[in-house]
Amino acid sequence: MPLRHRSSLLVLAAATTASALLLAGCTADGAGTSGGGSAPSTPVAGGTLTYATGFGEPTCLDPHVGGNMPQALLGTNVLESLFSQDAEGAIVPWLATGATPSADGLSWDVALRDDVSFTDGTPFDAAAVAANVAHMKDPATESSTAILALGKVTSVEVVDPTTARFVLTEPDSALLESLAQTWLAMESPAGLARGMEANCEDPIGTGPFVVDSWTKQDNVTLSRNDSYNSSPAGAAHEGPAYLSTIVWRFIPDPATRFAALQSGQVDVIDEMQPDNVVTAQDAAASGGQLGVLTGALPGASIRLELNSGYAPFDDERVRKAFIASADVNPGIESLFFGTVDRSYSVLSSSTPFGASFEDDYAIDTDRANQLLDEAGWTGRDSEGYRTKDGARLTVDFPISTNQSIPAEQSLFEQIQATTKDVGFDVELHPLDLSSWYASLAAWDFGVTSAIYTKNSPDVLRILYDSANIIPAPSGYHPNHSHVSIPELDALLTTAGETNDQAERADAYQKAQKILADGAYVLPLYDHLQKIGYSTRVQGLSLLPTLQLPYLADSWVQQ
């Protein structure tokens, strides 16, 4: 499936016609459809939808800058990408109509729509694509996600107004998937030219909504783009969105967010807590006014990254002892109320080529004790923690309270408790996003949990290629585990370049085995997008590329 785009234009054209239910790349729990208990009604134009996000407030609305989930969530309704993906992961057209690679795979000709304009009136053409790629790759933009996704792209040449040629240093089997992500969305060149400050306040795209105003620490208001004509293949309807206004609120506290949904103050929330998902599903089943929409986010699973570059986890035996003593299954069962499954794979279940190695993550306390003895951590202090040369076996664990939901933080407390039995002193440090980024940038941690969403198994290269120990221009280094293995680098490079499916599968399998054998990562569970909504909202769906809520097809019952 990820390689279906190789056959380019023809498949893309076919996909357009066969698009009917492609946006159903999600499962609507509760009463079955996103319409909740009531029968689907006729779309109504107008009205305001209030969306409350728990992912945090972006510091910049332009997803080229940095590139995180809060930006992508909001950006999905304002900006559009060259490609989209269907529920099966196949590439479908959006602002581009197709793409043809050269024989050597070192250039791609991307055919563009000729009838789309940015909301400031600037026409969308090949020059705009070139300007966007140049903007993402410019170190001054401080991109971390887009610049990594475009790592193999040197530049974009304008062949003619509707053909943009991507020039690559090496073949990139994940190029079109990368281009489908919101972090690589197309923005008006005139808008980009205003400079970072203005563009962060109000990025100008081709999307169904435009940024109206941004009241910091409160909300962003979006209003309808009345000349919208560029729905992605698979959208439920063409043309302008139904909603006239979206109020995008920031409610960081999950209990408050859910209470706001229950009381009708907001219509849609994200980052639902597991117990709230169960409450809402029960309510939906008994004819209540709530519904839940879930989808597994592509990319890496929720996992612990063990910092193998620094003590104590620079010793493989200590890493193995940690993994053999971190008992997470009982916690995943009780804390998540059956809403997630344990994962033994570094890749999420919605990402192809994931490999599970359950045996490498078995709990064995005796083995953990033995490994720590072998590693020289033989002493015990008065509190029962192991010591070596008088130093305690301390593992610092910075937690991003923005990214880790409370149930997950409780799971980390349980990991702290079970690893204590063999003598680990895990110190949990709940931090706000910027302090957390700072401790990662300084390698000031033993273990941490970081989210990386990317719609391709190439996420493995981003996370574990030794090149990504070096920070991106934003200061972010995605290789938190500090994994530096030439053999692994080679496998990930092969997998990222080859077009041979079997070779790609084999390389990814071997790469994941190296990670499991070396005990660099402890996979925990799949990262689920959990959207709660009031049944007042109809036509809500998740855009399959990154499983982000897509509101152009939604309407509210008046």
Binding site: P254, D275, T279, G331, L335, A407, Q409, E413, A417
Partner: protein, 307 residues
């Protein structure tokens, strides 16, 4: 010299309204104290005050020897017994990781009391220096210190504590110091005015006339007399400091998880407030009772001072 009027206490203690309010019913029970036991009458304590004293003593016991009241391990997890409601095995229920809430509440007494007492000591210590300095070191120093205190008063106390924590990072020690610093201006102003009025009293004049040294007058006459009302305020302040420390932990700025600290427990429980009420109810209850008990006792001391 009389104890400070009520109004001046309230002015320095923006947060005290909450604990004073909660002490209302207990305080009125105390007014029926005349019918209390003979011994109680002799000590001048009413029923409410006895109950408060008993509660505080049991908190001290819990802080000094938690194993006596709750032999279990406050950090021991049991995921399969998570979210158990209050019952025989777990009188206060269990939390999301199956930890026993009763055990955690008992073990949480030590950090809460230590933070409360230590923060108040820091606040009073600092205030003593500032207040005495302002009252006795001349007009210029008085002017400088008084303006400084006014500036500090412009910030709500908790905001001042947040500022200290933002600069020095979260943790038990920082939050203790932060609460101490935040309460200091209130005490300092009271100590300044007390010292001023004591210094102007006839017996100090007499001491000066008798040729006593300045140090002796300060140590023997001014300090003890100026400190009497402060002692009452300290009793009230400990309860307040406990509440503030819990508030900081609740904001994730105090004790780090999964330490059994009351505020941190409230914070962890709030996510489950609709499904597991006992996770917030019991830690919240002891915070309220601890603050109420210290307030009741503080008021009792205050009234005795008036008599």
């Amino acid at each position: 010299m009389s104890v400070l009027p009520e109004g001046s206490v309230a002015a320095g203690w923006s947060g005290a309204a909450g604990s004073a309010g909660s002490s209302g019913p207990v305080g009125s029970a105390g007014s029926v104290a005349g019918r209390g036991s003979r011994r109680g009458r002799r000590l001048g304590l009413g029923v409410g005050q006895w109950v408060s004293l008993g509660f505080l003593l049991s908190l001290v016991l819990a802080a000094v020897w938690p194993g006596l009241l709750a032999p279990g391990d406050p950090l021991a997890i049991d995921p399969r017994a998570a979210f158990v409601p209050p019952g025989w095995g777990h009188p206060f229920g269990t939390d999301e990781s199956g930890r026993d809430i009763y055990t955690r509440v008992v073990h949480g007494a030590a950090p809460s009391l230590v933070i409360g007492v230590a923060a108040t000591a820091i606040g009073v210590g600092l205030a003593l220096v500032l207040g005495m300095l302002a009252a006795l070191a001349g007009r210029i120093v008085d002017f400088a210190v008084s303006r400084l205190l006014e500036v500090l008063f412009a910030f709500p106390g908790l905001l001042l504590a947040l500022l200290v924590i933002t600069v020095y990072g979260p943790g038990v020690v920082t939050s203790t110091v932060a609460v101490g610093l935040a309460t200091a201006p209130g005490y300092a102003r009271i100590i300044r005015s007390q010292t001023l009025s004591v210094a102007a009293s006839p017996y100090i004049e007499a001491a000066v006339v008798l040729g006593k040294s300045r140090g002796r007058i300060l140590a023997r006459h001014i300090l003890p007399n100026a400190l009497v009302p402060v002692f009452v305020l300290v009793t009230l302040g400990v309860g307040q400091a406990i509440v503030w420390a819990a508030a900081l932990s609740y904001l994730g700025l105090g004790a780090e998880p999964p330490a059994p600290e009351w505020g941190a427990m409230l914070f962890a429980g709030k996510n489950y407030v609709t499904s597991a009420w006992w996770m917030t109810f019991f830690p919240g209850l002891v915070i309220v009772l601890a603050a109420a008990a210290t307030t009741v006792l503080g008021r009792a001391l205050q009234k005795r001072g008036v008599r």
